[in-house]
C-alpha cells in the first residue's frame, strides 16, 4: 500500500497528503453523513424539537476546507452548520444533545441546531441569519491582525448569502485591509426553494474579484479539489496577502429543512436529486483511496462501523441527558 496522494494545487504546486490525513478526511465525511441521517431519523420520529437543515451530500466541502485548519483558526457557519462543526472537531454527543435542547448540549439547550458554538475549537458559531457569519468571521480576522495572532477565519456561506448586503460591506473591508479571511461559498444550487439561476445575476467568483479578492470555482463533491483550493486560499491569507474566495459546486440531498420533503414546494425534480446522489462525494473519495492502494474495502467498512458506533453513542448520550433547569432561564443574558 502507498502512503500518500499527490494533489495539485490551483497554483500548479503539488503537495503530498499523508495516508493518515486522508483516512481522517474520509472518516469525517462519514461522520457528517451518519450524523445528518441520524438527525433525519430522530426528527422524523417526532422526538426532536424545532428546525434542522441537513448537510447530506455536501460533506466534501466542510471536510476539504477544515482539513487545512489549525485548532486555533476560526470558522463561522450557517443555518446548515452541522457539517462545518463536525469537520472542525465538534463533538457529536454535545452537538446531538444541543439538537435535543439538553443541558449537556454545547449551548446548554439555549441555541439548538442553528446556533452551536465551540469557542475552544475556534467555532464562532452556526448562525440563523443568512450571511450572519460574514461580520463575525471578518471581525475575528481583524482581531487576529490587531493582536498579531496566527489565526485565519474561514467563512462558510451558501449561494443565498451571496445576495445579502453584509457580504459586500464586510468583504470590501477584508480586502481593503488584507484581513486573513477565506470565503467558502457552498453553491448547493438552491437558496431555500429558489435556484441560484433564478436568484443570482452573474456569480460569486466574479463578484469577489470585483473587490480584488482572488477567486476559484471547484467541484464541491471532489474533496481533494476542495482541499487544494482551500489550501491555496488559507496559505495566502495566513501569509498576510488578504482574503480568497472559493466557490464549491455541490447539492443538498435533503430539503431546505425537515419540512421540505417530497413535492411539498415543487421546486426540484426527483430525477435531479437522483442525478446528484450518483455524484456522492463519499464513495467517490473511498474509491480514490482504494485505487491509490491506501485502504481496502474492509478498511473502509471498519471506518464506517467505528463512526456508526460513535454516532449511536452520541444519540444515546443526548437522549439520556437532562433538559436545562428552569432556573437557568435568566443566566447569560449578561455575562
Amino acid at each position: 500500500m502507498t502512503s500518500a496522494i499527490a494533489v495539485k494545487c490551483v497554483t500548479g504546486k503539488k503537495s503530498n497528503l499523508a495516508k493518515e490525513a486522508l483516512l481522517e478526511m474520509y472518516r469525517r465525511m462519514v461522520m457528517i453523513r451518519k450524523f445528518e441521517e441520524t438527525v433525519y431519523d430522530v426528527y422524523s420520529r417526532g422526538t426532536m424539537p424545532g428546525l434542522a437543515h441537513l448537510y447530506t451530500g455536501m460533506e466534501a466541502v466542510a471536510v476539504g476546507v477544515c482539513s487545512n485548519l489549525k485548532a486555533t483558526d476560526n470558522i463561522t457557519s450557517t443555518h446548515r452548520g452541522h457539517g462545518h462543526l463536525l469537520a472542525k472537531g465538534g463533538k457529536p454527543n454535545r452537538m446531538f444533545a444541543e439538537l435535543l435542547g439538553k443541558a449537556a448540549g454545547y449551548n446548554r439547550g439555549k441555541g439548538g441546531s442553528m446556533h452551536i458554538v465551540d469557542m475552544s475549537l475556534g467555532i464562532l458559531g452556526a448562525n440563523g441569519i443568512v450571511a450572519g457569519g460574514m461580520g463575525i468571521g471578518a471581525g475575528a480576522a481583524l482581531s487576529a491582525k490587531v493582536l498579531h495572532e496566527d489565526r485565519v477565519s474561514v467563512i462558510f456561506f451558501g449561494d443565498g448569502a451571496l445576495n445579502e448586503g453584509l457580504f459586500y460591506e464586510t468583504a470590501n473591508m477584508a480586502s481593503l485591509w488584507k484581513l486573513p479571511v477565506v470565503y467558502v461559498m457552498e453553491n448547493n444550487t438552491y437558496g431555500e426553494y429558489t435556484s441560484t439561476e433564478r436568484s443570482t445575476a452573474g456569480n460569486g467568483p466574479d463578484r469577489a474579484e470585483a473587490m480584488k479578492i482572488p477567486a476559484v470555482s471547484v467541484d464541491g463533491n471532489d474533496i481533494l479539489a476542495v482541499y487544494e483550493a482551500a489550501r491555496w486560499a488559507i496559505d495566502q491569507a495566513r501569509a498576510g496577502k488578504g482574503p480568497g474566495f472559493i466557490e464549491c459546486h455541490t447539492y443538498r440531498w435533503r430539503g431546505h429543512h425537515m419540512g421540505d420533503q417530497g413535492d411539498t414546494y415543487g421546486y426540484r425534480s426527483q430525477a435531479e436529486i437522483e442525478t446528484w446522489m450518483k455524484k456522492d462525494p463519499i464513495p467517490r473519495f473511498g474509491h480514490q483511496l482504494q485505487t491509490e492502494n491506501l485502504i481496502d474495502a474492509a478498511g473502509l467498512a471498519a471506518i464506517d462501523d467505528e463512526v456508526q458506533k460513535l454516532i449511536t453513542e452520541a444519540v444515546e448520550f443526548a437522549k439520556e441527558a437532562p433538559y436545562p433547569d428552569p432556573s437557568e432561564i435568566y443566566e447569560h443574558v449578561y455575562p
Binding site: 450572519g132 481583524l142 482581531s143 460591506e169 443566566e331 443574558v333
Partner: protein, 328 residues
Amino acid sequence: MSTLERIGTIREAINEALHEEMQRDPTVILMGEDVGLAGGVFKVTDGLLKAFGPERVFDTPIAEAGIVGLAVGAAMTGLRPIAEIMFCDFTTLASDQIVNQAAKLPYMTAGQTKVPMVVRTAMGAGRRAAAQHSQSLQAWYCHIPGLKVVMPSTPADAKGLLISAIRDDSPVVFMEDKMMYNQKGPIPNGDYTIPLGKVRVHREGRHAVVICTSSMLYPTLEAAETLSKAGIEVMVIDPRTLSPLDTEPLIQAAKEMGHVLIVDEGYRSFGVTAEIAARIQEDAFDYLDEPVRRLGALDVPVPFAPSLEDLTIPNAAQIVELVKEMLA
C-alpha cells in the same frame, strides 16, 4: 472645583475617555466613518488616529452593518471594539448586527462567548437635520435583552460611563445627544468610572420628581429653577443607564413625592417614558396622588422647518406648566 478635575465639554470628556482607555488597554480599538483622519463628524475622536495609529483606529467605508459586524467578531476574539455610528438613525442599517448578533450571542452560547463592544452614536433633534438625522431610538435598543443602553447628560457622566461601558463585557449602545457636545461641566481627571445601572440625583425636592434622560436634563433643571421661585421644589433624577434600569430609586422617589413626570426625547409612544411610568405604577401605585405624566418627542417624523422641529422636543416651559398642573 478641585484640582482633581477640570472644566470641559462633553465632547472633550468623551475624547478623554477614549484616549485614556486606549492608552490603558491595548485591546481597545476604534472604528467608524471618518473617526480617524477627520476626527469624527462631530470632532469627538480628534487626535486618536495620531495617538494610536491606523492599527487601532480604523476609518471605515460607509457600511454600518459591516462596521458593527466586524466589531462583533473582533469582540468575540479578544478585542474591545468601539464602533461609532455617526447618527443613531443609521443604527437601523446595523440593527441586525446589534440585535440578532451582539445581543444574542452570550445567551445563545450559554456564556461561551462575550461580546464586549460599544456602539457610540449621536442622537437627538434640534440641529435642523430633518427626519433621518434627528431621531432618539433608545427605546429600540432598550427593548432587546442582552444590550445595555447608556445616555450620559454631563461631561463627568460621559467620561465615567464611557469608561465603564468599554470595560463592560456586554454590548453597550452609548447614545450621545448631538446638541450636548458643547455642554460644559467638571471632568474628573484620570481613571474615573461610574457603574452602569445607577441613577444620579441632580436636585433634591419635596413636591414632585422629574425623571429625565440625556439632554432633557437641562430644560428640566431650568424648569426646576423657575418652579423653585414659585415655591415648588422638584426632585430631578437622571437614570443615566436606561437598560438595565436602576428602578428602585425611581420607585422610592415616586413614593416620596407622589407626583411623577418623565421626560425623554424618544418618541412618546411605546417609549422610555412609557416603560418607566409602567414600572412606577406597578410598584408605587398606592403612593401616587395622580397618574404618572410623560413628555416625549411628538409622534411625527422630525420635521425640518425650525418652527416645526422645535414643537417636537420637550422644553422647560412645558415642564413648568405640566408640574404646576400636576400639583394644582
